[in-house]
Amino acid sequence: MSKLSFRARALDAAKPLPIYRNKDLPDLTDCVSINRAVPQMPTGMEKEEESEHHLQRAISAQQVFREKKESMVIPVPEAESNITYYDRLYKGEFRIPKQLIHIQPLGLDNELPDYDMDSEDETLLNRLNRKMELKPVQFETMMDRLEKASTNQLVTLQEAKLLLNEDDYLLKSVYDYWVRKRKNCRGPSLIPQIKQEKRDGSTNSDAYVAFRRRTEKMQTRKNRKNDEASYEKMLKLRREFSRTISILEMIKKREKSKRELLHLTLEVFEKRYQIGDFTGEILNEVTVPLAEKTVYPAPISLPISSRHKTENKIKSHKIGPKHLHPFPVKPEPHFDFVRSHKKYNKRPKLDTFRQTGWPERIQTINKADIKQYDFHSSGEEDYPLSPASEPDEENDPDGVFAFRRKAGCSYHAPVVDQSCSPHWQQTGQDQLWQRNCLTALSVPRRCIAVACRRVGRGGRVVLDRTSSDLDHSLGHLDPDMLYPSAGSCVPDLPVHTNTNSHVSQRSLTQLLGDIQACRWKFFRPRPLQDNSRAEDKKGTPPVEKGGGTTLSNSVSGGFTEEQFQSHQQQLVHMHKQLQQQELQQNSTAAEAHLHLHTLDSAGAHFAASAVINTPNNENRPQIASVNGVLPNSGSFRQVKVNRSAPSGGGGAGGESGSLVRSPQLAVPQSLPHGHGHLSTVSAVSPAHTHHTARLCAPSPSALKLASVASSLDRVPKVTPTSAIDIARENHEPERLALNGLSETTVAMEVT
């Protein structure tokens, strides 16, 4: 046909093609022969496969029938869809959300172990579970960590210990099991993983290596360099993160032992109470060397518990001076005065911080904000300690003989009388007697006349006996005085039963009488009065704050600011009255002393009102009794104040005369209880500046106060001694808080 001689033009994709039905074109057959002018498009298949039998059959079938017939289908290996246990395997239902599902790309990691237990593991788990409780996930996590930590070389037992941090038996059994399993394992890991490429290119042809990195995609040299650099950085970051993890791991461990220690301490307390070791003599005998050990070598750890220990010790010595009558005493050794000024500079600061610090503190506790509340747990407490001490050293007037801190040691600064007294209710009265007071030993119940107590370096309590004309009469004072004193000293010992309440009540009134009677006798150096007064004013606010926060914490409403202010006014008024009195009596010493007293009682008033307010708000039945009792138990109130505002300026101020100057930071440390906390705090929070540390510092005492208030609710009968009970119960919340703390610490570690 001539028609075929011309060559058809190429098909133009932009040219319209008219559409015909076959029936419209009877002469179409003529065209067929030139069809090949249209280039044959490739099928896109591999050539050798294109000719495959089944495909060809299917294609031809399609062309013939325009539709696939069943038999012309390309056969494929079979698939079954009748897994009978499906419903048991995939439990529960998933409701289709109304909205399209949107997934957060980062929300997928939930830190669950990749390792999945097999039936062999289950056998082991069941075996282990006979002795302990081990959840499958725990087990898987252990295996997972072991797996991931070991590359070609298996993790050693030592490494495993660090890695897993489980108790030895469990660790050993799982580790041994893992090693065995790993050795029998055919794959490179117990967690089946896709083979990774090796950088040397040896795996380029390994069919099982998949998902190689497309390094070359980052084309230019420059880019690649960048990539390498950032890769390096990432590696570094990773290393550092894993280090962080192990550090946190260790912190967790440490916190655990801290908690344990705390529990033990509490136990010791309880036991002491049970054997009636109220004076701490027994404990002292047993623990003196031990306590010192714990205090010294552990600058980081156990701040609380170690403080507890010292505190116990101190207290046991302190116990004597409960009923202190003013005695004429010799003036203080001079060196004390030298330092006192410095010290006083510091105190007010502390106090103001305390004021602001308290509410914060309590809030933070509520929030369980670890950062803030970390004062027991953070490992860096040793850090701020040493720098803080430097300025003191610089100013140290002792020159060559100055006490120099050794790095890494936690020193308990000398505790002066006053620092003991504020914290221990029974010593509250000490404040009256300032430096020298009637001293009694609690275990051999015996009054050892007037003495001056101080805490030497290392926390030893030294009694400097002072002879006085009352020495003789003191002998017969013992029996009467000791009872109440025992009562009032107990607060931090567990359980003071109600049977004692009468005694103590009586003795308290008696005490008051004593105080009244003896007031004029008390000697007090003049120059410190101003300070003490300043203290006085500054000292009280913390109490208020503490009380306020306590209330706001434990109950809504409560002790308000107005209340506090009126209270303060009262205080001032009382001060004035007392001062007038003193002036009239022409006793200079007494004045200062009085001050102290008033302060304490004022504080007690305050604390009492705080306490009273609490139950009030909760409509507790005890209110009445509290109200009834408190007013007439002056000494008790003191006790309270001391407890509630352990480091209150008042207390400190009262001691002003006899203050031994100590490095500013050391001061809080030296203080037995509340200050113990305080120092811990300041030492702990490294993230804060020194100031903020201070700011937060008082909170433990606030906590104390809070616990006093709250524990009051729980005391069925509130009598004067209930304060003691309160004090005892104090430990409960504290422990709880600590528990909470350690728990949160753990949580933090986990994340």
């Binding site: 190429a10 098909l11 994709a13 932009a14 040219k15 093609l17 008219p18 559409i19 015909y20 076959n22 074109l25 065209c31 069809n35 044959q40 498009m41 490739p42 099928t43 896109g44 298949m45 050539k47 496969e49 495959e52 089944h54 495909l55 029938f65 325009r66 038999s71 390309i74 056969p75 290996p77 079954e80 869809s81 009748n82 897994i83 395997l89 995939y90 239902e93 998933f94 409701r95 399209l100 599902i101 949107h102 669950l112 999945d116 097999d118 039936s119 499958p136 055919r186 490179p188 089946p192 896709i194 380029n204 042809s205 069919a207 099982y208 998949a210 998902f211 497309r214 070359e216 995609k217």
Partner: protein, 518 residues
């Protein structure tokens, strides 16, 4: 039946008993790929010549027809690991076949070039023309003048592309690139010719020294057949349990080697994690709370949903998906990571969750207008319209992007059938819906079809051709619709219930080129 006196080795060919779809016994010729001994009993891994690899299987000696055993030719002994000559043990038949293939490749190369200077190859002497073309193209290539050839599509592009990649540092690399090319040539030609096309500075030693080339990094997971060694030629996994289904893999998949000896690999239905035992799966399910693919749902109509998963952001899932998919996709390799891909997973919802039905992957940026890299309907869901649904969805995405697209080559047999079917239906739908305006015959350009459907122009043409619609009539090209085509189409469309509803698609294409990396 088997005669044990004769050693049946790898490379031998002989008829093997096989039951066909009609349940009749057949004795197709098969090649022994591997022999294994299980407690004294031999098993032979056979590939049925001219059947798809997915039908390869282990057979017992009694299914072998020893009498018709053909020993392997001397040159091509056992398949070699390096994937060169051994990968496809040749035989006389094979060689003939190769020639034929080469021819068709040549045709294809020519045809794909819309330059009239390479016309009607079929009219020339096939062998001669073939050689000429190969020579020409490779000479050009070795001189690194790509321009004239860049218009080549599909297979041709693959080799050229490699050259477009900037030379990699280090001699080894360079050699690899070259080797790669050589391998390609080798494969497509008779071995005799291969040396001719070696690039200067390279010798055959390079190709066998154990540093095979890496597949090109651009494009997608196209498998380089040179890696088609004996390991990847054989299925390595017996069975995969996925949700309610037990799947018999069709091809090799690089699951961890220690799992391949297990009778069953258990997959978590939702995160696709592979586990060695049911117990492990049980444990895993207590920790895995996924009930849908871990991506954003971008389409939902009825029970059908599509989830988009970023291969970079969700590596674990993407890799698991690829591993599973590789079991059913022959021509893909998992050589490189999944970063440059997006995965669109189609699911069917029931109260247990969103069950994976199939998926396709797509390059974030394709230099070759690919809108699909790999596409798969899982075997239990095959032949129920889901494949077409996946394809339809991929073109819907392209429509939103305002681009035309084509699936990455090579296509598998099933892929070709599915795509052809989709293209045919889509194009016929348009052609039949065309109404004549003002009394004139309705007409349409190929470009218009391409624009409406997002099907790449070449695919439109090939479909029209395949359907035999293009005719040259009275000096112009026309499209003719025959009765049987119209009927067949209407019939097929009636059966096509599953359709993508563009209104249910919530998809905003991202401009990946503006991002530093994918």
């Amino acid at each position: 039946m088997a005669d044990h006196s004769v050693e049946i080795t790898e490379g031998c060919r002989l008829p093997v008993l096989r039951r066909n779809q009609e349940n009749e016994d057949e004795w197709p010729l098969a090649e022994i790929l591997s022999v294994k001994d299980i407690s004294g009993r031999k098993l032979y891994y056979v590939h049925y010549v001219d059947f798809n690899k997915r039908l390869d299987e282990w057979v017992t000696p009694d299914r072998l027809d020893i009498k018709k055993l053909q020993f392997p030719k001397k040159e091509a002994k056992t398949p070699m690991k390096n994937g060169l000559s051994g990968s496809r043990p040749s035989s006389p038949e094979r060689d003939v076949k190769r020639k034929a293939e080469s021819v068709s490749l040549a045709t294809q190369v020519t045809a794909a070039t819309p330059v009239p200077s390479l016309p009607a190859s079929t009219e020339a002497s096939q062998a001669a023309l073939y050689t000429a073309i190969r020579d020409a193209s490779f000479n050009i290539k070795s001189r690194e003048e790509h321009e004239p050839l860049t218009s080549l599509t599909t297979n041709g592009t693959t080799s050229i592309q490699r050259h477009l990649i900037p030379p990699q540092p280090g001699r080894k690399r360079k050699n690899c690139g070259g080797t790669d090319e050589m391998v390609k040539v080798f494969q497509n030609n008779s071995p005799r010719c291969s040396t001719v096309y070696l690039l200067p500075g390279e010798d055959s030693q390079d190709s066998s020294d154990g540093i095979p080339s890496a597949p090109r990094m651009t494009g997608s997971l196209v498998s380089d057949r040179s890696h088609d060694d004996i390991v990847t030629r054989m299925k390595n996994i017996g069975c995969i349990e996925l949700g309610r289904h037990r799947l018999k893999p069709w091809y090799f998949s690089p699951y961890p080697q220690e799992l391949t000896s297990l009778p069953i690999i258990y997959l978590c239905e939702f995160c696709l994690k592979y586990l060695k035992s049911l117990k492990c799966l049980q444990r895993h399910l207590t920790k895995c709370n996924l009930r849908h693919p871990p991506g954003n749902e971008i389409y939902r109509k009825g029970t059908i949903s599509f989830f988009e998963i970023d291969g970079r952001k969700n590596k674990a899932y993407s890799q698991n998906l690829c591993l599973l998919a590789k079991c059913f996709l022959d021509h893909k390799t998992l050589y490189y990571d999944t970063d440059p891909f997006l995965f669109y997973v189609m699911t069917e919802y029931d109260p247990k969750g969103f069950h994976i039905v199939g998926y396709f992957s797509k390059e974030k940026e394709s230099t070759e207008d690919y809108n699909v890299a790999c596409i798969l309907t899982l075997p239990p869901y095959q032949r129920r319209g889901y494949g077409k649904l996946l394809i339809e969805f991929s073109y819907e995405l392209s429509k939103v992007e305002g681009k035309t697209g084509t699936p990455e080559k090579p296509l598998s047999d099933l892929g070709l059938l599915s795509y052809r079917s989709y293209w045919s239906q889509t194009i016929l739908e348009i052609l039949m819906d065309l109404k004549s305006e003002n009394g004139e015959r309705p007409q349409i350009t190929i470009n218009e079809i391409s624009e409406i459907t997002s099907i790449k122009k070449e695919d439109v043409i090939s479909t029209l051709q395949y359907l035999n619609l293009i005719n040259y009539y009275k000096g112009q090209y026309i499209l003719t619709l025959s009765e049987d085509i119209v009927e067949g189409h209407e019939c097929a469309m009636q059966k096509r219930h599953l359709r993508i509803d563009p209104k249910c698609l919530h998809f905003t294409p991202k401009d990946w080129s503006k991002r530093g990396k994918w």
